[in-house]
């Protein structure tokens, strides 16, 4: 197992010093959260795909631990433990190693242990301001270390949710579409199913058509009783009945209008600089107040970016662009550089408003942040 060359360490240290300077100037406080972390919190957030790449082990006390695969969650845990009592605005920056298994071995191009540098900004009341400020800061950091020729990709998961909110359909369909957003193929299949009443036939749903949840619960109770089927911990009779009730409701629900499906597809095809993209969204004439609010937020972000010296027309917005990390909830971005025939991501970030409450904050805490892949960055300067 070859170790890292000392020159790389020197280069990373020099780069980290410049980045830390930029972040501390902007009011971010340097913290160094633990490398060793409880495995549960990562695995319940990220799922099996990241688990296959996380170094997880059981210590002699039987505790499941991991080498952090990411620094955002360790920073969140640090904030919950040591952050301000009244949850006022908090700004952290960090730099340090993260660990991810690489199929095919530990190659210099894809190291198993690599450096991440970044910021997390919690509790900001002005959402768009925090988003614009952190994006401008990421770009300032790139300029400070001498990166040239990079491009910035933008997305907004909030805009997609706002579009769905305005289209007439049961809330459960919106949740399903939201869930499949990350998997284009399954998404298209779901959309086709919703417009054609192509719901999978369910053996108990037919008996429940036109009844209420209480009736579904009685049916579940009766069948479990007749067949002597025990419940297992985790799902109650009510959970099972609610879903059967929804399946029964799907059978008689009018299908999603073709125009609505087309609206969703047209929205997802939008890309261009954010100002053009806003015009394209406006031209869709999508119904409901949520979509106009989300557009206003994107427009405000653009104005704020201009004020911070970033020309919004130099950025690329794509409705389909998101991050395949389930904790992002709104604005997302990525900074990339051309590499051979493709591009290479050097920074990724965005808004993740659910993460802190998911891992134990007593109330939702607005959060934005980004992480720089320090080794990739050093490699392209």
């Amino acid at each position: 197992m070859p170790s890292k060359p000392p020159q790389l360490r020197t280069a990373l240290d020099a780069q980290d010093a410049i980045l830390a300077g930029v972040f501390e100037n902007a009011g971010f406080n340097y913290i160094a959260p633990d490398i060793l972390q409880p495995a549960d919190v990562f695995l319940d957030r990220s799922g099996e795909d990241l688990r296959t790449r996380t170094y997880v082990f059981t210590d002699p006390d039987g505790h499941e631990l991991c080498l952090r695969p990411d620094i955002t969650i360790p920073v969140c845990r640090h904030y919950l433990e040591y952050g301000p009592a009244f949850r006022e605005e908090t700004r952290y920056c960090y730099a340090g190693p993260v660990f991810r298994f690489q199929p095919g071995g530990d190659l210099a191009a894809k190291p198993r242990e690599f450096e991440q540098t970044g910021i997390e900004y919690f509790g900001a009341k002005d959402r768009e301001h925090a988003e614009a400020e952190t994006l401008a800061l990421a770009m300032e950091a790139m300029d400070a270390v001498g990166l040239t020729g990079y491009s910035v990709q933008l997305g907004d998961l909030g805009l997609f949710d706002a579009l769905l909110a305005g289209i007439e359909m049961p809330q459960r369909w919106r949740s399903r579409l939201h869930h499949q957003f990350w998997r284009p193929e399954a998404f298209r299949a779901l959309l086709a199913g919703l417009t054609s009443n192509g719901h999978a036939e369910q053996r108990y749903a037919a008996q429940l058509t036109g009844t209420d949840e209480a009736e579904a619960a009685r049916l579940v109770e009766r069948i479990l009783d007749e067949k002597s089927l025990p419940l297992v911990p985790g799902r109650s009779i009510e959970d099972i009945a609610l879903r059967l009730h929804e399946k029964a409701a799907d059978r008689v629900e009018p299908p999603l209008a073709q125009e609505a499906a087309k609206l969703i597809e047209d929205y997802l095809a939008i890309s261009g600089n954010p100002l053009d993209a806003l015009d394209q969204v406006a031209a869709l004439n999508a119904p409901g107040p949520a979509i106009s609010r989300a557009c206003e937020a994107l427009a405000k972000r653009c104005v704020l970016l201009s004020g911070l010296g970033v020309d919004p027309s130099s950025l690329t917005f794509s409705a389909e662009f998101g991050r395949n990390l389930e904790y992002y909830t709104g604005h997302v971005f990525q900074i990339e550089v051309p590499y051979k025939t493709r591009t290479k991501q050097v920074v990724g970030g965005g808004r993740y408003d659910n993460l802190l409450s998911d891992i134990g904050a007593p109330q939702p805490v607005p959060a934005v942040g980004f992480a720089i892949h320090s080794e990739r960055l050093a490699g392209v300067i």
């Binding site: 099996e48 297992v232 799902r235």
Partner: protein, 231 residues
């Protein structure tokens, strides 16, 4: 003399018995070296073939690292233990015994869940209400991950189970399982049902071979041809 071909045979149980019987029918005897409990031997009725007696899962591991040229083991163990199986190893003969399916099974009380698509939806609701993922008890980590990834199911977590996997849902350590079953009776006894599209792999005992050349190739070809006639 050229290197002997090294073939691994299960060292115990019905898999051992059936492997030895089938080889005998094909005209190959097994001579154990040293005392009767020896773990090495020679194949008779053919030149220059060494036999190693190993557990079925060890055989998959030895095939992976190339320390045996050929081996008799379950297809489930091959898929579980050898990444890129289809590019590295040939399943030369399916031997017609040791049949079992690797399946996804959920509690029978989940009246609303018949398919993988149902499971995916339930996993989302479960995560929303419990703030943790559905647990899958299994010893088949790789097969499970590959299957769920192919089906687009992400809202789950594997918990390791090394025995009595079917008891995990009742015990509360998992809500569902991925396990091997031949008749399904153990699953039914534990009030579990196989999802309609939940059969991941139909497994049986097979002869798997690494790429070999020369003398070794001639020997494997001879064994494969003899077994092929019987199954």
């Amino acid at each position: 003399m050229a290197d002997a071909l090294k073939i691994a045979i299960p060292s115990k149980g019905r898999l051992m018995e059936k492997s030895e019987n089938l080889l005998a029918k094909a005209g190959f005897g097994i001579e154990r070296s040293g005392d009767a409990r020896g773990y090495m031997g020679r194949l008779t009725g053919i030149e220059n073939v060494d036999v190693a007696f190993l557990s079925a899962s060890e055989i998959a591991g030895k095939l992976r690292d190339g320390s045996v040229d050929a081996g008799v083991t379950g297809e489930d163990l091959l898929w579980e233990n050898i990444p890129d199986l289809d590019r590295r190893i040939t399943i030369a003969v399916r031997l017609g015994f040791g049949h079992a399916d690797v399946v996804v099974a959920v509690p029978e009380s989940w009246l609303d869940v018949d398919s993988i698509a149902d499971l995916d939806e339930v996993s989302v609701a479960y995560h929303a209400s419990h703030n943790r993922r559905l647990r899958v008890a299994t010893k088949y980590f790789n097969i499970t991950r590959e299957f769920f990834a192919r089906k687009g199911v992400t809202g789950y977590r594997i918990v390791e189970s090394l025995g009595a996997t079917e008891g995990a849902p009742a015990a509360g350590t998992a809500q569902m399982i991925v396990d091997i079953t031949s008749s399904g009776s153990t699953l039914r006894a534990n009030h579990l049902k196989i999802l309609d599209d939940g059969v991941i792999l139909k497994s049986q005992a097979c002869l798997a071979v690494n790429p070999v050349e020369g003398e070794k190739k001639r020997a494997t070809d001879q064994i494969i041809a003899a077994l092929d006639k019987l199954v």
